[in-house]
């Protein structure tokens, strides 16, 4: 039993890593631009599909590199053309805008690539388990976790040590002051949106290798990402990171004891957090109002 539990904790961390990648991008955009990107799951799908198209030409590794960048460029354009227009307005408009965008993007994926699922081939070596005892951990999972760790470390380093990153963090706390200091806030937000899309695109490529492609593939990940943010505390990226891992592990552990509830458990956790600690694990007081 203990072994089963340990297996599943490991497994939960792997799944959680995935939520983290998606939730961090969502969280970045939410913190700086005060926009919940309902289309974030569709950016993920787009990243996966782009990788699918590119793989025959530049291979899996090339696609892993190029696809997130293209997704980021797309995100940048969407922000410049659409999202930017609603920053000054009531939040209801940004919600509706990204909601509509999600519809269009999902339908476009279905139109272009068809309603059927598409298989994504991963390099042969990655598909095998790491050892006969740990048969449930394939190299691909290890590889996914490594990529996520790399991406998260990169993101945190970027926010801490680069000029743009520091501005993004500052803008999260007080955008007006940052603007008053002469920073081009419009460009900062566009860039930030692109970084968020990059993370979604990366998650999309990884997900495609794991679960295959279909137009709705991002939908199931959107809600866990929301919950990761709420549980971790709005405004705190570290919180989002923790929240994602926590619900990943909780889901996996529930699978051991009560499999049918493994999806519902994350909502229970959110409920508990909101009752006991409404601002989330690492949320700043006041950030959520």
């Amino acid at each position: 039993m203990l072994q089963l539990v340990l297996f599943n904790v490991t497994n939960g961390l792997i799944i959680g890593a995935f939520y983290v990648l998606m939730a961090l991008g969502l969280s970045l955009i939410l913190n700086l631009s005060n926009v919940i990107n309902f289309a974030h799951g569709n950016f993920l799908a787009l990243g996966g599909y782009i990788a699918f198209v590119l793989t025959p030409f530049i291979g899996f590794w090339g696609a892993l590199l190029v696809s997130p960048i293209l997704t980021a460029v797309f995100g940048f354009l969407i922000e410049r053309v659409l999202i930017r227009r609603v920053y000054a307005r009531d939040p209801v408009y940004s919600l509706l805008l990204t909601f509509g965008l999600a519809f269009i993007m999902q339908d476009a994926c279905r139109y272009i690539w068809g309603p059927n699922g598409l298989p994504m081939t991963i390099p042969d070596g990655l598909a095998a388990p790491i050892s006969p005892d740990l048969f449930f951990i394939t190299w691909y999972r290890i590889f996914m976790v490594a990529i996520v760790i790399g991406a998260v470390a990169g993101l945190f380093a970027f926010l801490r040590y680069t000029r743009v990153g520091i501005r993004i963090r500052a803008g999260t706390l007080d955008l007006d002051t940052v603007a008053a200091l002469g920073v081009n806030v419009g460009m900062l937000r566009s860039f930030n949106f692109a970084v968020g899309s990059l993370l979604a695109g990366l998650a999309g490529v990884l997900a495609a290798g794991q679960i295959g492609l279909n137009p709705n593939m991002g939908d199931d990940l959107l809600m866990p990402s929301f919950i990761a943010i709420i549980v971790g505390g709005v405004g705190s990226l570290t919180g989002t990171l923790l929240g994602g891992l926590l619900i990943g592990v909780a889901g996996a552990l529930t699978t051991v004891f009560w499999p049918a509830a493994s999806e519902a458990v994350i909502y229970v956790i959110m409920l508990l957090v909101l009752i006991v600690r409404p601002r989330g694990l690492l949320g700043e007081e006041g950030m959520m109002t």
Binding site: R85, P91, F103, F226
Partner: protein, 327 residues
């Protein structure tokens, strides 16, 4: 976080509100006569009424309190399940079913409301979405009671007994339409009275400037909570009617995509106008019905409606006639 928008024109002192109301009621009362001529059908009008009521109830919160819920499908769906479960397991009584629907959705909303009244803006929206998904998962997973993924079936609305008179709302869809219309009239009448009451005025004050309202000693949280609960009750009523319309309730009626549609109906019609959400619901339901018969890519068109409304008609159809800023 809520953009304190200014629209001084919510209660015009002129005769225009009466004129609008007269036009609305004249159109609604004569639906079965003119709709078939325009290629519509009675069930479509019934759907417009149900979603119109849902959008108007939701708008008590968005348009008249200034709080943005993105999880109202939960209360709509709970209303539907409340009605359905009553008809299936308790008694074949339509009024009882409606009452149970209101109770279930309203109580859930009142309880959830306690946790979230301190949130504002996008965070309020996010928490309401997540709460909505809890309801979704309960309905989805509690197979033995709700029928799970397949939905709750095996119930049917019952004929209405009014003293010696029996209304056959089961098989005659025109009578059922007028039954819906009567319920709709009562509900919107109550909403109108509520907004005209001191309580309603206070909600407007909170919407216009929450901080000032707070300084005036208004218990803002309590008012928002009450407004949220009332809005949920009416939305649950709409959901109960939806269950009666379909003789069915299923988890998709609780899903957040429906929440999004309720919001767009309110915004598209004009969230600052009392009848706006009804107009929005009518346009949305009819457009969706028409487009989805013409192309499988209707989702793109619906998405496009969202985008266009946000970018070019933020004040909605009825909002165009109103003064004030369109923010």
């Amino acid at each position: 976080m809520t953009a304190a928008t200014v629209s001084p024109n919510t209660q015009t002192g002129t005769a225009r509100p009466w004129l609008t109301a007269a036009i609305v009621w004249a159109l609604l009362l004569t639906v079965p006569f003119w709709l078939p001529m325009l290629g519509g059908y009675t069930a479509l009008a019934a759907r417009v009424l149900v979603f119109g009521l849902a959008a108007m109830s939701f708008n008590l919160l968005l348009g008249f309190t200034g709080v943005m819920s993105f999880g109202h499908a939960a209360y709509f769906g709970l209303g539907a399940y409340g009605a359905g479960l009553t008809l299936k397991y308790i008694a074949a009584s339509t009024p009882l079913a409606i009452l149970a629907g209101i109770l279930l959705g309203g109580l859930a909303g009142t309880l959830f409301g306690l946790f979230i009244v301190r949130r504002r803006g996008v965070y309020f929206a996010m928490v309401t979405v997540a709460f909505g998904q809890i309801a979704f998962y309960v309905a989805y997973s509690w197979d033995s009671l709700t029928g799970g993924y397949d939905g709750l079936r095996g119930f049917s609305r019952a004929p209405l007994h009014l003293g010696p008179l029996t209304l056959d709302i089961v098989n005659n869809d025109k009578i059922f339409y007028y039954f819906l219309l009567a319920v709709f009239a009562i509900a919107t009448g109550l909403q109108g009275l509520l907004l005209a009451s001191p309580f309603g005025r206070t909600l407007l004050a909170i919407r216009e400037n929450e901080r000032r309202a707070r300084f005036l000693g208004i218990p803002v949280e309590r008012h928002i909570w009450m407004s949220f609960s009332i809005s949920c009750c009416f939305t649950a009523l709409a959901g109960a009617l939806y269950a009666l319309l379909n003789n069915f309730a299923d988890p998709m009626g609780l899903h957040y995509s429906l929440s999004g549609e309720i919001v767009i109906m309110a915004v598209m019609g004009g969230m600052r106008a009392f009848w706006g959400p009804l107009a929005g619901a009518a346009l949305f339901v009819i457009l969706q019905d028409t487009i989805s018969s013409m192309t499988v890519n209707w989702m793109s068109f619906v998405g496009l409606i969202f985008v266009l409304v946000v970018l070019f008609f933020p004040r909605g159809m009825l909002g165009i006639f109103q003064k004030g800023t369109g923010k």
